[in-house]
């Protein structure tokens, strides 16, 4: 028995492969947070007055808020005055094409497996790359523009499409929503902006790749996706960071808005630096993600594969306002070593015949703690609402934890709710069974874990499903004794 446990331990001790630092000159603001810092950020970004006011309002709200501590995670107090809130790779002007982007930056993304040069992009994925706080390049922009689709960095959207930004910013996650959302609203530096006009089906995957590089900085990006009536879009984000001994804060906000008959599919492959074996360093991933199905027959689907970060705190949610709206949440969360994850979703049923599906797969290894926290709320007028929830946890070894906290509130008699939950230990029996058929332990664990996650992986766009499976393999790989 003990030798199997040892093998599992070895297996789950895979090395983080994206831990390098790019040596590039950065333009930063002084450490700490004040109205002056916010004014400076806003000024550097050449923002209109209304946006500065919006930020300052958020900051003042934030000052009156306290850090939430209800999540099942533990960490030393964060000194918010010890963080750099703005860091941008130094560029003379905004690059107009990829040829003007610093080769060092392009090389970084290539190293990460994301070639930005369009001619190399045969997969038909449009990429927006965010380095520290600033978007450095967006590919396929012109091609999308022909269809009326806007896909650009948030900063650019503020300059080019201020009316759209002003109309929708904060429409789903208001400034004062929660502590981290308020902080983000005050200091957010960049992110992606997507607008798909009426009746347009976006012909390619849109993708944003986030990279934290500079020491002592936080990354506060803000993503806003609006699908107008009858529009369809699929969006993916990926993220990595260098290996650092200190913790870095990542507090993002993502807002999705789907109008009548619109569909938004949002997929995340989160691979921030998780810290070392003893829990030193790593990213605090405190993120607010919410989608509003405002229109009839609209649909928002979240798929996430969370393998990184030392602490993850996020609940991609759906507010189902329009009648017949559909919300989905498919999640794989892997924690290893000293990682902690408290993640799940909220499905708020407001409209009639709204439906939601929750499938959560948690895998804990090492000394990690993995928590599913989900809320299903059926409001008074949500006649015929339905929810199905399934939460499965898998434990590897005997020193990790898996926790499930479902909150269910039903205010309508016609609603139907189902909740299923299982917890299993990765079977030494299963591994032995594979071994006995000739399959080595490392491959066996990979196979079993991927099988466990299958229902979620099949929701990912094809290319990313392959990437996610590989990532899971890396997170769980190591030398077999």
């Amino acid at each position: 028995m003990s030798s199997d446990t040892q093998e599992l331990q070895d297996l789950t001790g895979g090395e983080y492969k994206y831990g390098f630092v790019t040596d590039i000159e950065a333009d930063t603001v002084p450490k700490g947070l004040s109205e002056d810092v916010i004014r400076l950020i806003s000024h550097k970004k050449n923002e209109p007055e209304w946006l500065l006011e919006w930020r300052l309002k958020a900051y003042r709200l934030w000052l009156g808020m306290t850090e939430p501590h209800w999540a099942n995670v533990e960490y030393p107090p964060i000194d918010y005055q010890d963080i750099i809130y703005y860091s941008a790779p130094k560029m003379k002007d905004r690059p107009k094409s990829l040829d003007e982007v610093d080769p060092e930056l392009l090389a970084t993304y290539e190293k990460l497996g994301i070639p930005l040069k369009e001619q190399e992009l045969l997969t038909g994925v449009a990429v927006d790359a965010v380095f520290d706080s600033v978007s450095v390049a967006t590919t396929f922009k012109d091609k999308l523009k022909d269809l009326g689709i806007i896909f650009c960095s948030f900063s650019e959207a503020v300059q080019e499409y201020p009316d759209l930004v002003r109309k929708y910013l904060g429409a789903v996650v208001p400034q004062g929503d929660n502590f981290y959302a308020a902080l983000n609203s005050a200091v957010f530096t960049d992110g992606s902006f997507v607008y798909v006009p009426k009746g347009v089906r976006c012909p390619m995957e849109l993708s944003t790749y986030f990279r934290i590089n500079s020491l002592g900085t936080g990354q506060f990006e803000r993503t806003l996706i609006v699908a107008d009536e009858g529009a369809t879009v699929s969006y993916l984000e990926g993220c990595t960071a260098p290996v650092r001994d200190e913790n870095q804060l990542h507090a993002a906000v993502v807002e999705l808005l789907a109008l009548d008959d619109a569909t938004i599919k949002y997929s995340t492959v989160q691979n921030w630096y998780p810290g070392d074996k003893d829990g030193k360093g790593g990213i605090y991933n405190f993120v607010t993600k919410r989608g509003k199905c405002a229109g009839r027959n609209s649909k928002i689907s979240w798929t996430q594969v969370e393998t990184g970060s030392s602490i993850t705190w996020k609940y991609p949610s759906c507010i189902l306002v329009g009648d017949n709206a559909v919300g989905e949440f498919y999640s794989v969360a892997v924690t290893n070593n000293r990682q902690q994850a408290d993640t799940g979703t909220k499905m708020i049923h407001i409209g009639k015949n709204t439906r939601s599906t929750i499938v959560s797969k948690g895998i804990s290894a090492g000394f990690s703690q993995n928590t599913y926290r989900g809320q299903v709320k059926i409001m008074k007028n949500a006649d015929g609402a339905r929810n199905f929830s399934q939460c499965d946890s898998m434990l590897m070894g005997d020193r990790c934890g898996a926790h499930t906290f479902p909150y269910i509130e039903n205010n309508n008699r016609t609603a139907q709710l189902e909740h299923e939950a299982t917890t299993s230990k990765i079977g030494e029996d299963q591994i032995f069974y594979c071994n006995q058929r000739g399959i080595a332990t490392e491959d066996a664990v990979n196979m079993i874990v991927n099988g466990f996650c299958k229902e979620v992986f099949r929701e990912l766009p094809m290319e990313f499903a392959v990437e996610a499976q590989k990532l899971l393999g890396i997170s769980l790989e190591g030398s077999v004794g």
């Binding site: 299963q430 032995f432 069974y433 594979c434 071994n435 006995q436 000739g438 491959d443 099988g451």
Partner: protein, 255 residues
């Protein structure tokens, strides 16, 4: 092919096998019978390398190698196959995928080229006829939602695909109705050649109506107390294990 010498093994500190001696030659089928708790499944598990069992004494020579030095996957790749008494479910992993991974792992170990999906499927379809298995089971997750009979047939299908040198069947007859038993036995017999061997672990004589053993061993309290031809199984059936239990020491010359 296989020589077990004075094998002692324990589970969580409790000694279960207390000096097993057994020789299996190519082409032979050996039946191991015994009452519950006598150590039959432990012996099967020790040969396959299950880590729950700790070998404290003795040795096992297989094809000239010290079998106990090999990890479980290497034993499988060397041709040792265990048909499980309780086949394990692997949710989300299709039966075909699992079989192909196993088959190619063994080929890779032997330095042979891996088979592609098309050729592999042809091979599996051929082998499935042997156990009269419903082809839809190929696309289902490994053993998940299978009936008891389907699980056992699936074990024999895996055996047919992997074509082992030494097959160990651990209570493969348990939980099978007579038709399933006949199909499983037919599969085992069809796979039997002068080059390979089988050890059939069973509690009941009934399986031996279909799989005719060359040697029958009676295992009581961790020791083989008697060995003989197939008539020994019939005598056990008539007189019960109480009779065998009285045979405290091995009868000289029967092992």
């Amino acid at each position: 092919m296989l020589e077990i010498r004075n094998l002692h093994a324990r589970v969580e500190g409790k000694e279960i096998l207390k000096g097993i001696n057994l020789t299996v030659r190519p082409g032979e089928i050996h039946a191991i019978m015994g009452p519950n708790g006598s150590g039959k499944s432990t012996l099967a598990g020790v040969l396959a390398g299950k880590s729950l069992y700790e070998v404290t004494e003795g040795e096992v020579i297989y094809q000239g190698m010290n079998l106990l030095d090999l990890d479980p996957a290497a034993r499988a790749c060397e041709g040792v196959f265990l048909a499980f008494q309780y086949p394990v479910e692997i949710p989300g992993v299709s039966n075909t995928y699992f079989l192909k991974a196993a088959y190619n792992a063994v080929r890779k170990y032997r330095g042979e080229e891996e088979l592609d999906a098309v050729d592999f499927l042809a091979l599996v379809r051929e082998k499935m006829k042997l156990v009269e298995m419903d082809p839809s089971l190929l696309n289902r997750p490994v053993n998940e939602g299978f009936s008891g009979g389907e699980k056992k047939r699936n074990e024999i299908l895996q055996m047919a695909v992997l074509n082992p040198r030494l097959a160990i069947l651990d209570e493969t007859d348990s939980g099978l109705d007579i038709d399933a038993l006949r199909i499983v036995a037919h599969g085992v017999n069809a796979l039997h050649t002068p080059e390979n061997a089988a050890i059939v672990v069973t509690h009941y004589q009934r399986l031996l109506d279909y799989i005719v053993p060359d040697v029958v061993h009676v295992l009581v309290d961790g020791r083989i107390v008697r060995s003989g031809d197939k008539d020994l199984a019939l005598r056990l059936e008539d007189e019960g294990y109480e009779w065998a239990r009285d045979l405290k020491e091995p009868v000289p010359g029967t092992v």
